[in-house]
Amino acid sequence: MALVLTDDERMIRDSAEGFFAEHAPVAELRRLRDSRDPHGFDRALWARMAEMGFAGVAIPEAHGGAGLGMVAAGLIQEAIGRNLSLTPFLSTSILSATLLAKGGTAEQKAALLPRIAAAEIVVALAADEAPRHAPAHIGTRAHASGNGFRLTGTKPFVLDGHVADRLIVAARTSGADSEPAGITLFLVDPKAEGVRVERRSLVDSRNAARVTLEGVQVDGADVLGAVGEGFALLEAALDAGRACLAAEMLGVADRSFALTTEYLRTREQFGRPIGSFQALQHRAAHLFCELELAKSVTLKALRALDEGDSRSAIFASLAKAKVGEVARLATNEAVQMHGGIGMTDDADIGFYMKRARAAAETFGDSAFHGDRIACLMRY
């Protein structure tokens, strides 16, 4: 398919942008942060996202979703990035929904997917254990017990962990700590005995929690996918998440660039707009080019997922690596070109830099994905 948005996709993009600009602009992030909101997001907004069809955008229609796929999901996440909106969209509508749709039994799908599409629940993925993303590195153990398993281990960084109604936990049923084989995914009730959830406060005001599992009993029906073969499923969901994070970072970079060029046109020093200084013009023009590249790799990654392209993992990594760098450059330049104002909490621009950093670290930064691309291409 052509590397261009269809008319339908353009409509989704416009309605998502309008929606988040109206209901969850940067001022809303500020309000939630300053009031130390216990949930860290607005459940009413989440419910509205269901009305818009966003919460279930990538969930098949048979399970109550819109069945629109990853390009549409990416466009929503891009608008989230542009407005720095706080929502459980990534954890629930992308990661968990993908895992359930691809790996769930009929019962699991029927029980959870329609409720995600209706924004009735938040489902969080508890996979990563190392501070630097290493998806196969799972030390959490699942020992056979009764007709199920007992889970023990620690997940230090679970997005939306403290507001989750359900957790999807990656644990090891066999194998050594960093082997892809032997990983199994489990549906876990965070209120079950032995689960401890502690909220952690992050630089970008997003939601994350440390989840500790101490001999948590789950039964066989809570296994998601095949025992010992969870890694491929996990990677498929992570690739969807990575492509959507690239889309979010694109939104972050694009808006912070727009704010910056506007500032360059209006702020005056030495009796003229600072945007007339060539030193700044060239850096801005370079950034413009980088943003064009970021747009291309993001769309390609999302399309490749929808088309079931055999290289979709490579394209997801390409997007995550490239857009992560572009968003870092865009937001760093934004702060620099705003001068002292850029360092103040009153200016929005700092929020963009914080989010760019956090999103780049999530599910693999450029170094991780550069190495992954090279390994997938055998060098």
Binding site: L3, I373, A374, R378, Y379
Partner: protein, 398 residues
């Protein structure tokens, strides 16, 4: 892919035709300038295969696949032309003909030329009969091209041209020149320029080669001493040549910028070269980890750039293009290509330093040196950034 039946049929036919008609020799990588077919009255083919390949492709109009058939083109749609390009890449077929006529003058004539000018010049470009050079830059007019001073004064039915051009690529081998001249000396600088075509054999034209850091002399100083040019060779209106000049530059820039774009598919990628040069370690990775990182970064950017070329084309086709992206493609593509050549040199280590010898030793070093010009020719990187700042970002004038 969702290719229509007609396009799939075109692909099958094209593939079969190329298989049958592209000589084996023309499927080898282009390693130096002598492998390139430039055409022209005095062109000496480097092999019978090169000549045959040009003739066969020209007969189909496939040296210029998208030009109208009436002017020697293939009359292909954008989709068909893309299929042809893909199929040529598939068998690594060399371009049958490369020329300034194809890349630059042709598109400008198609848009601004008179019917007589199109009928006269386009078919000769398509068949590789006439080789063109570009008379833009002057000693005092490089980045500030519009300050050019070569004059053309109308006397009866002829313009009398006097002045000097510089950096005129292949002026000593070209048959004709498309030349920017000042016809209105008193008008504001952008409004006094005209676009003229003339034969390099006209009395009063002389050239002097300039030797480059790569050791070759592909470009010249070009002098005009009372050269008589028929009035009919003026393209467009008198004094309105700047618009044509800029339009032509957008084509030149896209062409130069596109040199890195084969990265994703087909071309022997940098990673392949790196693997051959360095081998793989026990962990399946290139053994020199810093160099590996550089290769990865380069491949990521090259791939992202190739996808951007694809997206820009797709958007233009869908009528969604944002317009003047040629400066972006020129700037980014050439900077990438330079970086790639630096890495190619690093990968070969001291072997890359060889200058003269058997089996084309020195090709790589020369290609590396040549690549440094990419961000100068056709408007420097700095000039492209100025254009982006002004036209895309609407930043205030310096």
């Amino acid at each position: 892919m969702d290719e229509t039946a007609a396009l799939a049929e075109f692909r099958a036919e094209t593939r079969a035709w190329l298989e049958a008609n592209c000589p084996e020799e023309m499927r080898q990588p282009v390693r130096s300038d002598s492998d390139i077919c430039w055409g022209g009255r005095r062109f000496v083919f480097s092999s019978p295969a090169q000549k045959l390949w040009l003739e066969r492709m020209a007969t189909r109009g496939w040296t210029v696949p998208e030009w109208p058939r009436a002017y020697g083109g293939g009359g292909l749609s954008k989709e068909e032309a893309r299929v042809l390009a893909q199929e040529m890449r598939r068998i690594r077929a060399r371009p049958p003909l490369s020329s300034f006529g194809i890349w630059m003058l042709g598109p400008a004539l198609l848009r601004y030329g008179s019917e007589a000018q199109k009928a006269e010049h386009l078919p000769k470009i398509a068949r590789g009969e006439i080789r063109w050079c570009q008379g833009y830059s002057e000693p005092g007019a490089g980045s500030d091209l519009a300050s050019l001073r070569t004059s053309a004064v109308l006397e009866g039915d002829h313009f009398i041209v006097n002045g000097q051009k510089v950096w005129t690529s292949y002026a000593d081998r070209a048959d004709w020149i498309f030349c920017l001249v000042r016809t209105e000396p008193d008008a504001p600088k952008h409004l006094g320029i005209s676009f003229l075509l003339f034969d390099m054999e006209s009395p009063g034209v002389s050239t002097a080669p300039i030797r480059l850091i790569s050791g070759s002399s592909p470009f010249c100083q070009t002098f005009f001493d009372n050269v008589r040019v028929p009035r009919a060779n003026l393209v467009g209106e008198r004094g309105r040549g700047w618009e044509i000049a800029k339009y032509l530059l957008t084509h030149e820039r896209e062409m130069i910028g596109g040199m890195d774009s084969g990265a994703a598919e087909g071309r022997d990628g940098l990673a392949q070269v790196a693997k051959r040069a360095l081998g793989l370690g026990e962990d399946g990775r290139l053994p020199d980890s810093m160099l590996r990182t550089d290769v990865i970064r380069q491949e990521i950017d090259s791939w992202a750039f190739a996808l951007t070329m694809e997206r820009v084309k797709d958007e233009a086709k869908a009528g969604q293009g944002v317009g003047a992206l040629s400066s972006m493609l020129k700037y980014y593509g050439t900077e990438l290509n330079k970086r790639r050549m630096e890495l190619m040199m690093s990968l070969q280590g001291t072997e890359g330093l060889l200058w003269e010898g058997e089996d084309r030793e020195g090709d790589l070093a020369r290609a590396w040196l040549r690549s440094r010009a990419n961000s100068i020719e056709g408007g420097t990187s700095e000039v492209q950034l100025n254009i982006i700042a002004k036209t895309m970002l609407r930043l205030p004038a310096a």
